[in-house]
Amino acid sequence: MTEKLLIIGNGMASVRLCEELAAHAPGRFETSVVGAEPRPGYNRVLLSALLAGDIGRDAIALRDEAWYGAQGIRLVTGQTVTGLDPAARTAHLANGTALSFDRVVLATGSSAIRLPIPGMTLPGVTTFRDFADLPALQEAARLNRRIAVIGGGLLGIEAAYGLAKGGAKVTLVHVMDRLMERQLDRRTAAFLKRAVERKGIRVLLNAQTQEVEGEDKAQALLFADGSRLPVDMVVVAVGVRPNTGLAKAADLPVGRGVLVDDGLATVVPFIHAIGECAEHRGQVYGLVEPAYEQARVLARRWGGDTKAAYEGTALSTNLKVSGIPVFSAGDFLGDGNDDILLEDRGAGLCKRLVLKDNRLIGAAMVGEAEDAVWYKELIRAGSDISAIRESLIFGRAFCETAPSRVLREAA
């Protein structure tokens, strides 16, 4: 008899797991997917582009219902799972029904955090996480409203970009001294700030929001230094929290996320977790790439590859933030002594490679990230780069086309 697999959540990790299953373990499971949003999973990364009007709604779709049908997967949308009974191998849904399973995968993702300050619940204060957040933001942008985006991480910058592009007067408010401080060092972050500012976004750093002021709607941000920023709307993008409620309720060990091993299993062998809700080797990833990698490992194991294991993803960020390539990997801070730096202010390019003992241990770059994969591989492999240390910063193609021998000899 076919095993019953239940995937809880219908985000990007969930969609990818379905795809990987079709590739690596076709026919092994009778699969069900339950998602809280009222539509099939979509590419959340592109929400800001949709907000900016750079792409249309179709472009963010991943797989439609017909695809699920063709794969023999039962897709339940607009339903939340309210409880999990490991002993009975049963999941309870909000509509009162229950689903039985032989294996279950938690792919519940994470939720946007709001700040613990007064005014967070005022009308006009919103997060930017789901498709549902879009209409109000689009409307505000269209009306050229003053919008404060709190949070200078990836999500905040993306939201600010989308809103500014859509027509809003955007101020990006960040409590730290630089943008994306968890991915970038001071210098590369400064280049990102200039690039963001060039998109028409005002950036306030070291700005600690104390309160959202307003009678019946958000009207101003009050900062710790006493200054005020009048606003029509506030978008809170200060981070996410893994959705671990189901796991906790089922008495599964939870750190920041649901704890899993290299086989992506919890302490209960038939309960798995992947994506932003999972914690592996102490790491909770807020990025899509590890989720995809985890989905693949899981599918391959189920396809019979017993050696398939998830050993973590090299900590790296490689993305376009508001159309600006940003890449960071490894120990991008270093001790500041041995890093190779290349800056071109005119071109908005800043690349930084951190070296230790003739090995690349970290990288951060803004404005160009073409060689991200190569740098990441060099960091992972720990290769000795002394032979190419003069060319390293100029990328793979440059390093691999050595001057021709004849000409070299003629020198």
């Binding site: 086309t401 050595a402 000409l407 020198a411």
Partner: protein
């Protein structure tokens, strides 16, 4: 005061592309050049096929003259104390400076210092003003550093300063001896004629030179003579001529005097072959080959140049050469004779008008009769009655405060005189210094001047020059002078007029000056003075403009010049006989010491000339040798701990420079060589003139620039790098550097004992690159680069690292020449090479056709195994030919198994 400003005849200033026949600006070969102005300030340059000196050939320097016509570096306006002024005020200031000094301290307290690059007409009026009207013979010239020993040797032997032969003798000789002459590099067109003779008639070439130069490399026999011992060779030759029965007894008896004494003297100097060989550090076989070849070859030309002249015994060395030719009667006949190869384009013209302090004018001296004669001709009120101070002595008098006002025209004593650092200081002690100059970038001269006068340059000037074979050729203008620049003769005449001598200097044109000069040569000349160009004294302006190259003497009544002299005697001594001159015992002026155990030799490189004020403007010429260096024998390198490519400090009692070491066995152990071209205007810490001692020849006053006791030691440079810049940048004096012109800018090479990172910070500061948009900091490779981009073009690129990086320099040069740098390229601006490795050029060998070493090697691998085959395949070496010895070397390198 009304200032007359004759502008050059508009018909001679060609803005339409009409070809103008003129004469090259560089060496004493005096090649004819056809210049065709492009109407935009430039011109295309070709050899003049109708000129007898070169018959259409040009060397690489001549061929690149068109690249040196830019005016960005030129002085455009007169200045007083660095402030722009009018010509009127500037000339008044010069006049006052001279007049005040003469009134207070007498005429011998003023001096003129001239140049072998002035035209004969400039020279004539300068000499006339000083010796006839100011009343002092303190007028000397940089020819003192170049030709003075030859002048003195000629005068001692022949009674006058005369080169007996002509270039055709090189075509007709069966043996050419080149002594103290790197002819292939310094007189390439003559070298080509010699090479042609070798092919055509099997002429053999012997080179006598302590260095194995490219000329020596190409010779049939190279005698790497011990420094300073050339005269021993020629003394031995005289002895063997006598003992071998090769004396032309008839000639010696009828036309010479002093043979026996000279022979006895030669026997003392070189009693035996073995002894001579030992003193010259030669094998007896090599010496024997030279002696035998010379004696058995009637058609022998002995060419000599700075290796002979620039010596404290230079005059004796010249006479040692003249002695053997006189003894063998091999003089003034086709294919034989002693032949002085002149270094400057018009050292000869200067000698003719009396540009040297020990001559009066027109080959006359300071005997009372001659002074009287010239005084009457000039109608001069204040004739100088005695010789003036020769260059070195003149500047020593300046140091002592005896000469207090000086006017320097067309040369830079602060760079080229011995003890150049002391000379630079000496200039500042003057009460008054006027400088007539072309370039705004000269080392140590303009800063010391009260008045700076902008002079017209080659291509703008109008007059005559005389080459090594006594051939007078026209330099004709084809460009208008930039700004307010004026010819030197005009400046001198204007000052003379202001000093109250208007009538004697009322020349409307160079033609008028030339007529007077020619007339003086013929004035009361009954044939005793061989320098007689009376036949040219009545040239109309049109005939002067159209004057074809002609060899003097050309007395009135003759319609053709004179190819050769002295075949039948007729010397200028009163008795008509030549003199064979006994020599002082050959010795170094200053032997090496424990402190300074080496001998420093100085000289030229192939593609540069003097202090590079002209050749430094050509990107093509900058490629052959792009920075100063010192050549050291491998044994000395080991002895003093030097590495090829690293830096060394070269010190003498006079000064210190820091140069890149080239380890080469073309040097003798114990001798080092450094080129003279780099000064503080185009480099720093590389002024070779500052090393040279002031020991001079007792007769000629010429300094010994070839054997200066020196020491060398490693000079640790932690950082090396370069700046590529669109504009000429001022640079700090503490930084060892050298400038090199490239298309659309310059490359400055530098080196420093500081660490690269710290140096880069300092230089970024100096160049204001802190706000530059491009930075690379790579401590892992100790590499730092910064650049600024303006309007998508590279403005400045600063690169500092642990060592020189030719790839990076080539890439920056390429970027500098680009009109627009696109985004894809911009990513690699600070890379160490082009993203496409194929763009990297290798060292250029043939400058005429831009052929580099890699292409020659590739052709050699493809089967082109001779210089001719390379020429057929790549054209390399087929124009000026000065790279042919290098091509041969490359081919030999390719043949050797790796």
């Amino acid at each position: 005061m009304n200032v007359s400003m004759p502008t050059p005849d508009p018909s001679t200033i060609t803005h339409a592309p009409a070809p103008v026949r003129t004469t090259c600006a560089y060496c004493g070969v005096g090649c004819g050049v056809v210049a065709t102005a492009d109407g935009k300030g430039g011109a295309t340059i070709a050899g003049d096929a109708a000129h007898p000196a070169n018959q259409g050939r040009l060397c690489v320097k001549g061929a690149a003259l068109g690249e040196t016509l830019a005016t960005g570096h030129r002085l455009l306006h007169p200045t007083i104390h660095g402030v722009r002024t009018t010509w009127n005020r500037a000339l008044d200031a010069v006049t006052k400076g001279f007049r005040d000094t003469i009134e207070r301290h007498g005429p011998d307290a003023v001096a003129l210092y001239l140049s072998g690059q002035l035209l004969t007409e400039d020279y004539y009026v300068a000499n006339k003003l000083m010796k006839g009207f100011i009343g002092s013979a303190n007028v000397d010239t940089n020819s003192r550093l170049c030709m003075a020993s030859t002048v003195a040797g000629h005068r001692r032997a022949f009674g006058a300063d005369i080169v007996p032969g002509c270039y055709e003798d090189l075509d007709e000789a069966d043996l050419v001896v080149l002594t103290g002459s790197n002819t292939a590099w310094c007189h390439p067109v003559l070298w080509q004629r010699i090479e042609q003779a070798r092919t055509r008639r099997g002429t053999r070439v012997v080179v006598i030179d302590p260095r194995r130069t490219v000329t020596a490399d190409s010779a049939d026999l190279h005698l790497a003579v011990a420094p300073g011992m050339d005269a021993v060779l020629f003394a031995r030759l005289l002895v063997e001529i006598a003992e071998g029965g090769a004396v032309d007894t008839n000639y010696v008896t009828r036309h010479t005097d002093g043979f026996e004494a000279a022979l006895a003297n030669a026997r003392e100097i070189a009693p035996s072959r073995a002894d001579a060989a030992a003193r010259c550090a030669l094998t007896e076989q090599a010496l024997a080959a030279f002696l035998d070849w010379w004696i058995e070859t009637p058609r022998v030309v002995t060419c000599f140049s700075q290796g002979i002249n620039q010596s404290a015994q230079g005059t004796d060395k010249v006479n040692a050469i003249l002695n053997v030719h006189l003894a063998a009667g091999r003089i003034g006949r086709p294919g034989c004779g002693p032949f002085s190869l002149t270094g400057q384009p018009n050292a000869m013209g200067g000698r003719e008008v009396g540009g040297l302090a020990n001559q009066l004018a027109a080959h006359m001296g300071f005997s009372p009769d001659e002074v009287d004669r010239v005084g009457r001709f000039w109608q001069a009120p204040g004739m100088a009655g005695k010789e003036g101070r020769k260059a070195v002595s003149m500047f020593e008098a300046i140091e002592r405060g005896e000469i207090r006002a000086l006017w320097v025209l067309c040369t830079n004593p602060a760079a080229s005189l011995p003890r150049a650092d002391a000379m630079r200081s000496a200039l500042r002690q003057l009460d008054f210094l006027a400088v007539s100059e072309v370039s705004a970038h000269v080392d140590g001269l303009a800063e010391a001047a009260t008045v700076v006068l902008p002079s017209a340059a080659w291509g703008e000037k109008n007059g005559t020059v005389t080459n090594s074979e006594r051939r007078i050729s026209r330099q004709r203008p084809f460009l208008a002078p930039p700004g307010e620049a004026q010819p030197d003769w005009w400046q001198i005449c204007e000052v003379a007029r202001r000093l109250g001598h208007g009538q004697a200097f009322d020349f409307a044109s160079p033609a008028a000056i030339f007529r007077e000069h020619a007339a003086l040569s013929a004035f009361e000349n009954d044939g005793a003075r061989l320098f007689d160009i009376g036949g040219l004294a009545d040239l109309t302006d049109q005939a002067y403009d159209a004057l074809e190259p002609v060899q003097w003497p050309l007395p009135s009544g003759r319609d053709a010049g004179t190819q050769r002299l002295f075949a039948d005697g007729g010397f200028a001594h009163a008795d008509g006989c030549a003199r064979l001159v006994p020599l002082a015992p050959p010795a170094l002026s200053a032997p090496p010491t424990a402190e300074h155990p080496l001998l420093l030799n100085t000289g030229r490189v192939r593609d540069h000339w003097h202090t590079m004020t002209r050749t430094g403007l050509s990107p093509r010429l900058a490629q052959h040798r792009n920075a100063p260096f010192v050549e050291v024998h491998p044994a000395d390198a080991e002895r003093f701990g030097l590495e090829d490519g690293a830096f060394a400090a070269v010190s003498t009692r006079q000064g210190q420079v820091e140069l890149r070491v080239v380890v080469t066995d073309s040097q003798q152990p114990g001798s080092i060589f450094a080129p003279i071209h780099w000064t503080d205007a185009n480099a720093a810490r590389a002024r070779v003139g500052s090393l040279v001692h002031a020991r001079t020849d007792p007769v000629s006053g010429q300094p010994d620039s070839k054997t200066v006791p020196a020491s060398i030691r490693p000079w640790a440079m932690q950082a090396e790098g370069f700046i590529a810049s669109r504009r000429r940048l001022p640079l700090p004096a503490w930084l060892s550097h050298a400038r090199m012109t490239v298309a659309d800018g310059e490359i400055v090479h530098f080196a420093s004992p500081r660490a690269p990172g710290a140096l880069h910070d300092l230089l970024s500061n100096w160049l204001n690159l802190w706000t530059s948009p491009l930075h690379q900091r790579n401590p892992a490779a100790d590499l730092y680069r910064s650049a600024s981009i303006v309007d998508h073009r590279l403005e400045i690129l600063l690169s500092t690292g642990p060592r020189r990086d030719e790839d990076a320099i080539a890439w920056a040069t390429d970027l500098l020449a680009r009109e627009r740098i696109d985004a894809a390229t911009r990513r690699f601006i600070l890379a160490g090479r082009a993203p496409d490795p194929g763009l990297r050029p290798s060292r250029q060998v043939c400058a005429c056709f831009g052929v580099d070493e890699a292409r020659i090697e590739a052709a050699a691998r493809g089967g082109a195994d001779s210089v001719e085959a390379i020429g057929a395949a790549l054209k390399a070496g087929t124009n000026c030919g000065s790279c042919r010895p290098e091509i041969r070397k490359i081919l030999e390198g390719c043949r050797q198994p790796a």
